[in-house]
Amino acid sequence: MAKEMIKGNEAIAEAAVRVGLEAYFGYPITPQTELLEHLSGRMVELGRVFVQAESEVAVVNMVYGAACAGARVMTSSSSPGFSLMQEGLSYIAGSELPCVVVDVMRGGPGLGNILPSQGDYFQVTRSAGHGDFRPIVLAPASVQEAIDFTVLAFELADKYRHIVIVALDGQVGQMMEPAELPAMGEVARERPDWALTGAKGRPPNVVLSVYLEGEREEAYNLKVQAKLKEIKSAEQRWLEFATEDARLLVIGYGTAGRIAYSAVQAARERGIRVGLLRPQTLWPFPEDRISSLADRMDGCLVIEMNAGQMLEDVRLAVGGQIPVSFYGRMGGIVPMPDEILDAITHECKRLAIHESIERSC
């Protein structure tokens, strides 16, 4: 496949189509709507299922239904819509069903605005619904990664019978970049043996999230926790730049991570010994790598487009070994490379990483 100029949201939609998306349910909300619009044409043209529902509450329960029947299913939304999906996501988690949810995050809280943000970090990694579960969360920083992570999302969802969230800020959703889409694939028509397809020649299948007896509910939870442990050890993903001799580790994901990369490059040009780690999975968080890098750093600087949410995960991973500081913008403001460079130099001064700064001046 050749590269083509494509917008993030459309790229995700088309990638999903090509890896055999069977059903999509959605509701319009900026900055996610191109995804729904793209699929409204493509899915119908291919004879697949597309429904624009009456609300995100209905959407997530349609997803729940299609997932019960064993179909490859996806929805997409943006922050206020994601909030409405939390009830259904909890039921889906309580029934161990696979599905993919795209959250194109916007400024909040409340109605907020339609500018890019990473304000849903806590929500997607910790509180995607009531009860004890964590979805897998993938955080693309480019259109190509948005495509690749959509493909990966379906693989992981099926592999673990789990919810996978592709969480991107509005910037990644809205920008156009050259990227390569996967080859066109068909919908897999065979259903898993647990799916609801009618009890023909077999005992009835039941999909539910209710266990009245404490012991049974606990047994279910223990099973889910064992699965989460497996995911945690197998699926931590990240990218690194210039960490070998770095004394300050900058950590950022999505657009913030990408801009931090420019800032770290600029800092390197000035001789500052700084490196970057960009988490690609927000859950499971790449805590093992961050923990081992922390052994040889003087400090960590977390960059986010929120008030400091991943910051807590970095602190947990670092475990108090080194100071962790934060630079972020909120309200839909995207930080400029210069701001991050300033934060880097400020942090180096504070941590007395002197020689490198002097060399650069």
């Binding site: 529902a53 349609m62 239904g65 299609a66 019960c68």
Partner: protein
Amino acid sequence: MIITDFTPPAGMELVYQRPESLVDVQTHYCPGCTHGVAHRLLAEAIDELDLRERSILVAPVGCSVFAYRYFEVDSCVAAHGRAPAMATGIKRVQPENIVITYQGDGDLASIGIAEIIHAAARGENITTIFINNAIYGMTGGQMAPTTLPGQKTTSSPCGRDVESTGFPLRVCEMLAQLDGAAYIVRRSLHDVKNIRKAKKAIVTALKAQVNGLGFGMVELLSSCPTNWGMSPQQALSWIETNMIPYYSLGEYKVIDAVNALD
């Protein structure tokens, strides 16, 4: 499993037995509760149309949350009120299956009113069995959107005051306005004659789905002796004397194609 090893004595014919679509277990419903009657009617209708192996039941949140234990069909339990949305998801990817939601009045007419209206408006090809017992049974008898004016419940202890709580919803009348609805009927479970009519309506609704005619709903006026504070017999009389005057029985919408089925 069906009782197959019973042979009627010579000269007698077996005329009544458990439908194949019902599981041979005791239900958790209170004595005199008409949820059990509704279950039996639905199971008989599924059997008669030979739909057991094609059916998928979506149970609600309410007293009938455990309906999945009683039907010998594939089933799932929806979030409170969301059964029509869940059924939509199932039916759209499994159009060859017969998808049935079974919902109480709190589930369907309060928290899930948006989902049922839009499922009907889309003409979603599913069947809804709507149990209207004018109360929240499972949570212990609070006021429902179908609680009658003046009716005492644990959250309207002086009787439902329409000044502050508004008026009961007549769901059949509302849904009948929608072009997507193919078959909207209200029946009652308070006596044998009406139970037979209810059964016939359920059969018609399922037939409509088999023929892809659009959304079908059968509302069944039902009793909750436990939370009404009545004996089973008093409760059945109360349906007749109090509920039917407010919720008139009848066919609210039967499109021509459904009429042509019989």
